[in-house]
Amino acid sequence: MNPLARHPRLALVLRVLLGAFFIYASLDKIWNPAAFAKIVYQWQVVGPVPSNLVAVTLPWVELLAGALLLAGAWKRESALVVALLLVVFLVAAGSVVARGIDVENCGCVSVTQAESASSWPPSWTKGVGWFLVSRNLVLLGVALAVAFVPPRKSPSPPASR
């Protein structure tokens, strides 16, 4: 394996970034669960009542897994929970893209409507499309690396005489 992939600092950076991203992604959804439920429903993957359950529970799983990753506790298991979520998101997004459904705001990070006068960030970063699929594939790779690529042990300092 490429020795860079097992560099301890790289492993730390990836784990902290992944954890921070999932904590950040959970906050707006936790604060606005009804708005998030509408967005889950717009994906047309599950009906209105299952959408409600997903909207209420999923952000807290994201928050907990993200916090554990950030804290460095249960690293492998929390990274695998994140990987599981990402696989579910990828399957759902693939289904939305394949059916040609137009979802303006994927609800991935923010549940507020994309109606700002500002053109930044561009709308294609908010909807369900190839950008979202690509981003989730990258995050999935990071999560699997955190779970299954153990960082190389730092060389121990020479013993003093």
Partner: protein
Amino acid sequence: MSVNWKRFILILVTGAAAGLAWNAASGRGFALGRSVLVQAGDELVEARDAKRLLDRGALFLDARPRDFWRMNRIPGALSLPEDDFDRAFASLEGPLRRANGIVVYCSGFGCDASHIVARKLRERGFIAAILNEGIPAWEDAGLPLDSVPRS
């Protein structure tokens, strides 16, 4: 390299339990047992029942943006877009007063424009039913849309 699957399950279960507890106790939660779009006072009608109302002369209102109505609509429906309600309402007040029942619809699946329009109509003294799941439910029931472009 082994995975502790008990921890894995514990993260999922604890997260889900925290979410349910937050929904119940935070004051920001909502009723889980029905569509989040539905509020007290909303009257939903299924597609087949809506068709019977249409056959009896009910007035259908399209709550989508007007460009969508121009492309296609339930036969005979008039445009009352949620995003331009006040102006459109002023021009429709006559037909609304004469209507033998009112049904509002939009794009379905998370679209709440029909719910908002029905509530605004209710505030103005008109009782309007909401087509449950909107146009997709209408099409799923095998009912036709009028696709002749309108200007």
